[in-house]
């Protein structure tokens, strides 16, 4: 299948990435070549393909909240204040 520039742009939006029209054209060629090579997967008869079994079941642990470590936040956050991450305002007055 062909991954054209408009599909590249769509996927880039989903992935929160910016691509210029020039980059989209280049990526279209690269990704199409890759996916065409991968089409070998489509040739397998369906009766060979059982559902993925328990071999891939991921063991889960309880989702337990742990105390944040303020020093970690202060060391690594691009911007923080009062123990919180600071980001641009997302809600304006009156909204």
């Amino acid at each position: 299948m062909r991954i054209d520039a408009s599909l590249v742009a769509h996927v880039a939006r989903l992935a929160a990435l910016e691509v210029t029209p020039g980059e989209a054209a280049e990526l279209s060629g690269e990704l199409t070549r890759i996916v065409e090579h991968f089409e070998a997967l489509q040739g397998l008869p369906d009766d060979l393909l059982a559902e993925p079994g328990t071999a891939f079941a991921t063991p889960l642990r309880a989702d337990v909240a742990r105390a944040a470590r303020p020093a970690v936040l202060e060391t690594n956050a691009p911007e923080s204040a009062h123990g919180h991450f600071v980001v641009p305002r997302v809600v304006s007055r009156g909204e």
Binding site: V11, L14, E30, F38, P52, V72, N76, P78, V87
Partner: protein, 493 residues
């Protein structure tokens, strides 16, 4: 001990170095200074390190000295360790080779690092790597490529290229890396080292910066099979901080290391001989010689087919990139790393990610997002997972016939820097022999087995059933003793 004797110790096996430290023949504090000098040299010459960690190293060396003085015997006492930059070392930077993590400082040690340090290792630096472990040549690091110590015009392999270059150049006696689709084994092969990945879950992933969680595993690179086996015995074991880690008893890889291969059935991978792009003729010669060696040493060597091996590249590059697209969503300029400021949150995310990630990482995020997107998921990601299950069944059937499978680690020796960078697909195809074991969660080890006519190292890979690391290390030892390939070292700087 004279300065020359100390240098010889740093060039030799990690286990011999540890024995000298345990015996009090050389102080850990002296060794660490010489090791840091070497690491600084190879950071400059090969690009092997992104950061040196002198304060951490000296503190750890003091701890080793104190414990040895108190009578403790540590399996890796004073051993200089290089840690791939996508594995956390407390208080030190971890960039994973990416601009987007510039300035990130690890809050704590990865479990595998903590275990190695507890066994006496001294971390001398953070090793260069392909960005987020995505690459087969170490040319995708945002901080520059790594050069192969055997030939500076060639790649060391990837993505753990800095780890491999550090050990091959004797800047470290041991290194750890991550292996998602071959990122420990392939650079080990290209740099003349032993490199292993464990059974999935045998080594904790806690403290590894995730790329593809159902495939990522930590492994080690060493100059001898015994050093590699000691590293396994230290790193392996359950960990409550990684729910996928195995809590079952860790297999003993040291007791039977010298048992040989008599009576074992070794399968020569049929699909390796029929490799579409063709095996490099020197790799093919080493492959055939390795099979003859096992036969001469008493193993039964038979051809074995794992029919879906040729499909492993498409499966791997769809599953791994799909998982990467989810794992790398966390890098958005809010909680850690670099930020590109913008007036709106959504454009802050986009600008940070677009400027922070390199070209290959973006390509893989896009491929993985495509494979998971509405309208395409069943045909691409869904089908890949079904073929992955089929590949696992292929391996299970093969292991009813043979005890282990032999194949080259890489279809060719180290290629030249820049040779494949313009063609992502040709770079992906270099992983053809390493991704199958990753997809099936199987343990595998690469062992030096010969040299090309140009004098470049060639590695052979042994793949075993789950939890058969003891068999793999003992077979690796047969190859090491029979080929003597590990005895040759790269040209001195």
């Amino acid at each position: 001990m004279t300065p020359a004797e100390i240098e010889a110790l740093l060039d030799g096996p990690a286990t011999a170095l540890a024995a000298a430290v345990n015996a009090g023949a050389v102080p850990a504090s002296e060794l660490v200074e010489r090791a840091l000098e070497r690491a600084a040299r190879e950071r400059e010459r090969l690009g092997a390190f992104l950061a040196l960690t002198p304060e951490t190293a000296r503190r750890q060396a003091r701890d080793v000295a104190r414990r040895v003085a108190a009578g403790e015997v540590l399996p890796l006492a004073g051993v200089p360790l290089a840690v791939k930059d996508n594995i956390n070392v407390a208080g030190e930077p971890s960039t994973a080779g990416s601009r987007i993590l510039a300035g990130f400082v690890s809050p704590d040690d990865a479990t595998c690092v903590a275990r190695l340090v507890a066994a006496g290792c001294v971390v001398v630096g953070k090793a260069n790597c392909d960005e987020f472990g995505m690459g087969s040549s170490n040319e995708n690091s945002a901080y520059g490529p790594v050069r192969n110590p055997w030939d500076l015009s060639r790649v060391p392999g990837g993505s753990s290229g800095g780890s491999a270059a550090a050990v091959a150049s004797s800047a470290a006696a041991l290194a750890i890396g991550t292996d998602t689709g071959g990122s420990v084994r392939q650079p080990a092969a290209l740099c003349g080292l032993v490199g292993w990945k464990p059974t999935y879950g045998r080594v904790s992933r806690y403290g590894l910066i995730a790329y593809a969680s159902s495939l990522d595993q930590a492994g080690a690179l060493a100059r001898s099979v015994r050093d590699a086996a000691v590293a396994f015995s230290v790193m392996a074991g359950g960990d409550e901080r990684d729910s996928t880690s195995l809590s079952s008893r860790v297999p003993d890889v040291l007791t039977g290391l010298e048992v040989g291969c008599e009576g074992k059935r070794i399968g020569v991978l049929v699909e390796a001989g029929a490799e579409a792009g063709g095996l490099h003729e020197d790799v093919k010669a080493s492959f055939e010689a390795a099979a003859r060696l096992f036969s001469a040493k008493g193993a039964t060597v038979v051809p074995i087919s794992v029919p879906r091996v040729p499909l492993a590249i498409p499966v791997y590059y769809l599953v791994a990139t799909a998982e990467a697209s989810a794992n790398l969503a966390r890098f958005d300029g809010v909680r850690y790393g670099a930020r590109v400021d913008a007036p709106e949150l959504s454009s802050l995310y986009r600008k940070t990610r677009s400027q922070g990630f390199g070209a290959e990482v973006k390509r893989r995020i896009l491929l993985g997002t495509f494979a998971l997107s509405s309208g395409y998921m069943d045909a691409w990601y869904g089908r890949s997972m079904k073929v992955r299950a089929l590949l696992s069944r292929d391996f299970a059937a093969a292991f009813r016939e043979v005890d282990a499978i032999l194949c080259p680690t890489s279809p060719e020796p180290a290629f030249r820097l820049g040779e494949k960078t313009g063609d992502p697909l040709s770079m992906y195809l270099a992983d053809v022999f390493t991704v199958p074991a990753s997809l099936a969660g199987l343990p595998a080890i690469s062992v030096p087995a010969g040299f090309s006519k140009e004098g470049l190292p060639i590695g052979m890979q042994l793949i075993g059933p789950h939890d058969e690391e003891p068999l793999l290390f003992s077979l690796a030892r047969v190859l090491e003793a029979g080929t003597h390939a590990s005895e040759r070292r790269p040209p001195a700087p």
